[in-house]
Amino acid sequence: MKKLVFILLAGLSLGACSNMGVEPWERQNLAKPEMALDSSPLRSSLDDHIYFSKEASSGGRSFGGGGCGCN
């Protein structure tokens, strides 16, 4: 139930997204490589592999991973 409420709230708050945003000529900062959501995919994949093999959680940002015995 709590999950459902959370998802609904998230959906509602996204409805407000139409009021956010900028014009194309206002994106010089957002366009910088360091502002990409995953600004270093190689770093992310190395980190994800470490944590995948050491913890019981994975994914979230992207697919959950796998492909490792990780004993």
Binding site: A10, L30, P41, L42, R43, F63, G66, G67, C68
Partner: protein
């Protein structure tokens, strides 16, 4: 370099959803010629005190097939020495265990947590991703992953779509991934709760190999908030089924009075009574991931949170904070803190009191003493130093990782004098170079 970074970023799912957010302005300035290859490489050293040591080189190449179309190939080599804890408990005398092959044994000292230091593995992984526009506002990524190690093979394919709306300020993303893994344990697949026998004796085995399948779906949205900030919110569902047991993990059987492992093997008096674990044959995970990034006068604040719940009874929270502090025109330093907390799986069983262990072959019961399924907190502290120039970029990061959990409930006798859930700490050194 800016284009290099951006191009490789766009191949990840997350960035596919953000492509337009970052792309329009930068592409005009840094257009990449069709036919060009963009190559980057990374090397990770991971070292746990007395346990696992790993070295992981990665090379990645991205070919610009067309103006908005790329092919990305990544090759990873993972060399590993040492294993995580076997699941067995330490005690006040030496213990001798049989290796998975059944042909040899190793001995751990009194008071030491049992683990097989002779464990070695090499893993090779190949990832490919093809990104292309379907229409003006819709981008598709097709990907494939292949990995192989001595006792484990994995194959998966994925696809995802990113749809830009609201003048490129809102990007919707959806993707799916399907895979199959094949497990071929050294020495064969143990029988659930079968008792480990001495070296060269017949071990309790149930065939030689097994498989598991994985299916993931993810949906998300990326939203530009203002000129300096944006956020992403993802929901993902991950279903795995098949052989999810770790064939090398065992559970000690302890005496109900003394709390010491039983030693009943006539041929190997130092071999304690340990049984092989058994996990459920399916797992369903739900994750919610949120990320917020803000540009602050040349610096970048990057925060994220992930909630994961699954039907094994595990709930985890992950908070990740980075602050990229610009030093001069090209150099930066980025401190990083990550905090992770998980609850234990319902079937986490650090030991069996003699008489409570299931009979060999009873796969209706689920139990594992793998500490990674226990309740613990993980902390990462580190910093990355890097430089981005017009021609290339590099970064070096040093991080410290600590896993710490409480001693399990229900201990007695010798178990209370031993450290059943010792801290695990590791040092990581990571170098990334973008040619």
């Amino acid at each position: 370099m800016k284009t290099h970074s951006k191009k490789s970023i766009r191949l990840s799912l997350a960035a596919a959803s953000c492509a337009l957010v970052g792309a329009n302005v930068a592409v005009a300035e840094n257009a990449h010629d069709v036919g060009d290859w963009d190559v980057s490489a990374a090397l990770l050293f991971y070292n746990e005190a007395d346990r696992v040591t790993a070295a992981e080189p990665v090379i990645k190449a991205v070919k610009q097939l067309d103006t908005d179309e790329t092919l990305s190939l990544k090759l990873t080599l993972d060399t590993l020495t040492g294993a995580s804890g076997s699941g067995a408990v330490p005690t006040d005398r030496p213990q001798t265990y049989t290796t998975p092959s059944g042909n040899s044994s190793y001995t751990v000292n009194a008071g030491d947590i049992p683990l097989d230091e002779s464990f070695k593995d090499t893993r090779v992984a190949l990832n490919a991703a093809w990104e292309r526009p379907i229409s003006k506002d819709l981008t598709m990524v097709l990907g494939g992953n292949l990995s192989s190690e001595y006792d484990y093979q994995s194959l998966s394919a994925n696809t995802s779509f990113a749809w830009d709306t609201n003048g490129g300020n809102t990007t919707w993303m959806a993707g799916a991934s399907a895979g199959v893994d094949s497990i071929d344990p050294v020495g064969g697949k143990p029988i659930a709760f079968g008792v480990m026998q001495e070296a060269d004796a017949t071990q309790p085995r149930d065939g030689s190999n097994d498989t598991k399948s994985l299916f993931d779906v993810i949906v998300g949205v990326t939203q530009v908030i203002d000129q300096n900030s944006l956020f992403q919110l993802n929901y993902s569902l991950s279903q795995s089924s098949g052989y999810l047991t770790d064939p090398y993990k065992i559970i000690s059987v302890v005496d109900p009075v003394t709390g010491r492992p039983l030693f009943t093997n006539i041929n190997e008096p130092n071999l304690p009574t340990v049984v092989y674990e058994n996990r459920p044959d399916s797992r369903l995970k739900h994750s919610i991931f949120g990320q917020y990034k803000r540009y602050i006068g040349g610096d970048v604040l990057d925060t994220s949170y992930r909630l994961m719940v699954d039907d094994w009874g595990i709930t985890s929270h992950t908070i990740d904070l980075r602050y990229r502090w610009k030093m001069g025109d090209t150099l930066y330093i980025e401190p990083h803190v990550r905090v992770y907390q998980q609850s234990a799986a319902d079937f986490y069983t650090p030991f069996f009191v003699d008489g409570t262990q299931p009979v060999a072959g009873n796969d209706k019961v689920e139990a594992s003493a793998d500490y990674r399924l226990g309740e613990f907190n993980g902390y990462t502290f580190g910093a990355e130093l890097g430089q981005d120039t017009a021609d290339n970029s590099w970064s070096v990061a040093l991080e410290y990782y600590l896993q710490t959990g409480n001693e399990p409930d229900g201990t007695f006798g010798e178990l209370t004098r031993q450290e059943l859930y010792p801290d695990v700490d590791a040092v990581m050194l990571r170098v990334v170079y973008d040619f």
